[in-house]
């Protein structure tokens, strides 16, 4: 039985504004995440991810405001990540109508938070984002890094993904720091290594620059979903075009 593959635009924000440029002429405010989210939603996004890439303490109020405005304008699930440190942060976001919280550094520092969050909110609502870098010293060849890829933590990325699953994570969002932002394609060996090791959904992230990259992440990388930023933000393709292309390659998508 073939599953539906999801196409998920990712909105990177800083101080409540979009960071990566968005190239839509028909929007009033191209830096407003809520406005762009609504546009993506009507264009066929299966879910949306909103990342607060700076996540400063001062920025948290801003983030909550942006999240509130975004949730009100979309009718697909929203995942929020960036700066989530504890269960209270998650509760604040869930109370606004957020579907899933994505944790990264907090989980690396204290893996127990995954277990606590899954027990409190349900596994389905806890995504663990894993940033990776190639490192031949690691058994899988990929190491976990934090702080935007600057700090390696000495954990094997595949072993960590499995540990996250065992602790109760509902999905894994692996991003290759080697590939992110390059538009040269996802790190397929890394995605596949993680997707093959866990039985929860894996959302491929980081590096999509062509529609074939999306297809590769699913067919070769075994990803359940693809996270896309630049490809859509710069108006290179619409979500519908991406999905139609994937469908033409035999991938089941909701059109």
């Amino acid at each position: 039985m073939v599953d539906y593959v999801k196409v998920i635009p990712c909105l990177d924000t800083k101080d409540g504004r979009l960071v990566k440029g968005v190239n839509f002429v028909n929007l009033r405010d191209i830096a407003d995440p809520a406005e762009v989210a609504e546009k993506y939603c009507s264009d066929g996004a299966d879910e949306l991810v909103l990342l607060d890439i700076t996540a400063t303490v001062e920025g948290r109020t801003t983030l909550l405001d942006v999240v509130r405005r975004t949730v009100e304008r979309i009718n697909v699930p929203l995942t929020v990540g960036g700066g989530i440190r504890n269960l209270d942060n998650m509760r604040d976001l869930f109370d606004l109508g957020v579907a899933k919280c994505s944790i990264n550094t907090a989980a690396v520092k204290n893996p127990q938070i995954i277990k606590d969050a899954a027990a409190e909110f349900g596994s389905e609502r806890i995504a663990v984002a894993i940033d990776t870098r190639k490192n031949s010293q690691m058994p899988s060849g990929f190491e976990v890094v934090v702080e935007g890829g600057r700090t390696p933590v000495g954990k094997d990325a595949v072993a960590w993904a499995k540990q996250c699953e065992d602790l109760g994570a509902g999905s894994i969002l692996p991003t290759s720091m080697d590939a992110d932002g390059t538009q040269a394609g996802y790190d397929i060996p890394m995605i596949r290594a993680i997707a093959s090791a866990v039985s929860i959904p894996v959302i491929a992230s980081g590096g999509a620059g062509t529609l074939d990259h999306l297809v590769q992440a699913v067919v070769e990388g075994k990803a359940s979903a693809v996270l896309v930023a630049s490809l859509f933000h710069y108006g290179k393709y619409t979500i519908r075009e991406a999905k139609e292309y994937m469908a033409s390659k035999g991938i089941k998508v909701k059109l």
């Binding site: 599953d3 609504e38 869930f94 109508g97 909110f121 959904p201 909701k254």
Partner: protein, 222 residues
């Protein structure tokens, strides 16, 4: 969402929809969806509000054991039972749909509300590549016509998030079916004034809003 779409779905703003709050998460998106189609609703754990509401929505995400404990702690079991038996339109969503059945395999076995006969089973796919939770879109095949499906095509896709699925004890309670993880499970169940979906209509785009609007228009009879 386009303006014209909002207008076509706009229903008469009159009586109250009670969205039952039993601390099983994320009711905001349910409220926003109803508000979007112009329905007046309130998130509440007050038995008197639930008892007097025009229609009742029983949502929920999380685990069955914790949900049942919360319902008991908040003193909501009786008022939910009364609502289900009152003839007023009653909509279960996701975990709410599961725990209106008799029993769930979740949390080492959980006795549930028993508003409809049946049990809740865990997906157990043979294929290790099949991902659990079932998280995303899937098609719903309409098994039995129902006012909830008005204007909704057979095979329309809705958004699911779950690891367990409803298995009513009699086929007559199955309104819609979906295939996942080697099973064909009941994704929409119902009887008399009760309808319940395993998927989240509030997160299923336009088609989901259409279903909620159908619920708001429904008189509770089929």
């Amino acid at each position: 969402m386009s303006e014209s779409f909002t207008e076509t779905l706009h229903i008469n703003r009159h009586r109250l929809i009670a969205i039952i709050d039993y601390k099983a998460g994320n009711l905001t998106s349910v409220r926003l969806a109803f508000e979007h189609i112009g329905a007046e609703c309130a998130i509440t754990s007050d038995p008197t509000v639930i008892a007097s509401a025009d229609r009742v929505v029983f949502p929920g995400v999380g685990a069955a054991g914790e949900a049942m404990r919360n319902l008991q702690r908040l003193g909501l079991v009786d008022v939910i039972r009364q609502a289900a038996q009152s003839g007023r339109p009653f909509l279960g969503i996701c975990l709410g749909t599961q725990i209106i059945l008799d029993h769930s395999q979740e949390d080492g076995g959980t006795k549930c509300l028993g508003l409809l006969p049946g049990e809740v089973r865990r997906f157990a796919p043979a294929d290790p590549e099949c991902k659990i939770p079932h998280m995303g879109w899937n098609a719903v095949r309409i098994v039995k016509p129902h006012p909830l499906f008005e204007g909704i095509e057979d095979g329309s896709e809705f958004y699911f998030v779950h690891s367990y699925y409803p298995a009513p004890s009699d086929e007559k309670y199955i309104l819609g079916e979906t295939d996942y993880a080697d099973v064909r499970f009941a994704s929409v169940i119902g009887h008399a004034n009760i309808v319940a979906t395993q998927f989240h209509p509030e997160r299923s785009g336009r088609i989901g809003l259409r279903m909620l609007a159908n619920f708001v228009r429904w008189d509770g009879k089929c």
